[in-house]
Amino acid sequence: MIRLAFRNLFQNKARLAISVGGVALALLLILSLDAVFTGVERQITAYIEYSDADVWVSQAGVLNMHMASSSLPDSVARKVRAVPGVASVTPILYLTNNVVYEDERNLAYIIGLPESAEMGGPWKVSSGRSLPGKSEAIIDRTIAEKAGIKMGDEVEILGEEFEVTGLSEGTASLVNSVAFISMDDFEDLRGNYGTFSFLLVKVLEGESPELVAARIQAQVRDVTVQTREGFARQERRVVQDMSTDVVTIMNLIGFLIGLAVMALTVYTSTLSRRREYGMLKALGARNTDLYLTVLAQAILSVILGFLVGLVLTLLLTVVVPIFGSNLALEVSRASLLKVASVSVVIAAVSAMLPIRQIAGLDPAMVFRGR
């Protein structure tokens, strides 16, 4: 019966291509939306993940960086440095502002870095300096290219002119980019002397970041302390919790479209093979055998559709950035598992539609020439 399903499916290649393509596109809807959100999750946690810090200290009650504000007095840095297990502490200043060049405005996390900062700077620099000096800025390369900014050009940040002395990689997301200036400039422009936004902590070799984080939390008042992984997880949760409803709605629509395409394919192909099925019945095949053939056909089509959908999604992950978009798609294992499960349900439900057709088939019909 599987062989029959196989032959039924591959006999008409054009129909196979259209049905597999339809299912593939419906699954692509689900896969690509998941990939968009997974990509955004990775992008917005990139700064934290590549910060090189083991532990992040923020204002009490502040668990996130994105869409959040944190302020810590100078004294906290001293107290954190004194905690056993802490190797070094780098304070950073942070806010969201624009990198302005001519008429082009790009939203960016502006990071104020101390001179010779050990952590929190750009992790990959394609050209120029890796730490900003006075009146200097390091901005994202893709943003620079899009706006036509070259090394040595002046950009406006926080209302002041900065010379671009470095271009960083991997620091742009769909939402914003990261720009680095010196802490002295940041303080001069914002007037927040003696305060920091976050403290980046490196622990001594052999020390556990979790233990040191717990120690800092216990010994320093009015702060929230998280390991780098914990802090990044909190950021990912923002994207996940914000997108849950949108993803659910889109998944449902994708599922229904996939179901419609598959049901249409299975139905039309069963219909066009009425004579063959009648012949099989006349030769003694049971209804169950024929149902299994239809189900096998549906499963095979959906497997092909799933594979094509996956290949298309992977292609999109490569093609979309080429068109200059900061949209980064990333296929996750969880998404693959979900779409595979959806595919199985689509195959099973769509195979139910022709049951009535098969059950109602009269074996004698084949001899009557219908």
């Binding site: 969201t96 769909l174 914000m242 409803d245 139905y267």
Partner: protein, 366 residues
């Protein structure tokens, strides 16, 4: 025409499935567009309803929701002295991530002085904050988390009591909540700080002149509320347009595939009949017309059904998830019909080639 109609209507299940498939694809396109239009309306709700016609921000800040703004000290006093400025409303605002029932909920906090305005424009229950650590919370967000007047919400580690519920302050992405400006200053550890000034001008005042006066001051940027709202829209459009275009493009392809599938199978099934028509002198043009008419019918019917489905689905989504606002523009419905036409034309290409290659003699060989 009658041949095309009969071809299509002969198998009603197949026709229903194909129309349903196109309808789903069109519905998806419309819901996505309506969703974006609704979000745009929600994004500018504070600027649309807050007092004044001019916003004064920190230099280089042109958005309310995009960038952090911190005005230099004394700007409010300078503003009061400018001719034509009637009222000055300072606010301190910041995005905050709330943790509600272990879910992260981004919200936009507006710290305001209840006597000067800038707070909620429509209270549906309770009152404005009067004393320390009181807040007006968005009604929809409160409902979603079973919060009501008197309940407490943790903001940056401090507990605030809900004393009022506001309407028109929600969006799926972020809702607004309101506290006294002094409380916002304490939360952000920024005593005396102001993010924006909302300026109400006297009747007949020259807005351009007032804007110019402000922009002569250093470290500030003054713009009309309308300009700032447009900037916020532009910012969010930039973020959402790429994923949205991707989804709409896929939906269009899916619709085309569905129409293609149905027309192709209908054409192949009737190959013999088409061969007979050719054999008795029927021209290819006539057969193309039959194929395209079938495709057009399935697409247009699917598009109309899609428009109806989109309206129904939007109502269902908005009642099940009130944080979503889905707004349909009649232009979008027109575009959906055009998309249906596009799907029909593209879907007809392959079946017309099948018809064109058909040899009239084939019918006699079979």
């Amino acid at each position: 025409m009658s041949l095309a109609r009969r071809n299509l209507f002969q198998d009603k299940t197949r026709l229903a499935l194909s129309i349903g498939g196109v309808a789903l694809a069109v519905m998806l396109i419309l819901v996505l567009k309506g969703f974006l239009a609704g979000m745009n309306r929600q994004i500018t709700s504070y600027l649309d309803r807050s007092p004044g016609s001019i916003v004064v921000a920190e230099e280089d800040v042109v958005n309310l929701l995009g960038a952090t703004s911190l005005l230099p000290e004394g700007v409010d006093e300078k503003a009061e002295r400018i001719r034509g400025v009637e009222e000055v409303t300072p606010i301190l605002s910041q995005f905050i991530i709330l943790e509600l029932h272990e879910k992260k909920q981004p919200a936009y906090m507006v710290g305001y002085d209840p006597e000067l305005g800038g707070g909620p424009w429509q209270l549906v229950a309770g009152r404005e904050p009067r004393s320390k650590k009181e807040m007006v919370f968005d009604r929809v967000l409160a409902q979603r988390h079973n919060l009501t007047l008197g309940d407490r919400v943790e903001v940056m580690g401090q507990d605030f009591t809900i004393v009022g519920l506001s309407s028109g302050t929600t969006s799926w992405m972020t809702s607004f909540f309101f506290v006294r400006k002094q409380d916002a200053e304490n939360l952000l550890l920024a005593p005396g700080a102001t993010s924006f000034l909302l300026l109400t001008t006297s009747d007949g005042a020259d807005l351009d002149k007032i804007l110019k006066r402000f922009n002569d001051f250093s470290d500030v940027n003054a713009l009309t509320k309308r300009e700032m709202a447009a900037n916020d829209l532009k910012l969010f459009a930039r973020i959402f347009s790429a994923p949205l275009k991707l989804m709409v493009g896929i939906a269009f392809l899916v619709g085309t595939m569905i129409v293609g599938l149905i027309i192709y199978t209908a054409t192949v099934e009737r190959q013999r009949e088409y061969g007979v028509i050719k054999a008795i002198g029927g021209k290819n043009r006539f057969l193309y017309q039959v194929v395209v008419t079938q495709a057009l019918f399935a697409s247009i019917a699917g598009s109309f059904l899609g428009i109806l489905l989109a309206n129904g689905t939007a109502q269902w989504i908005m009642s099940a998830r009130p944080q979503f606002l889905i707004v349909f523009d009649p232009v979008d419905s027109g575009q959906a019909l055009l998309a249906g036409l596009g799907m029909a034309l593209i879907a007809s290409i392959f079946p017309t080639r099948v018809v064109a290659r058909l040899a009239p003699a084939e019918v006699f060989r079979k």
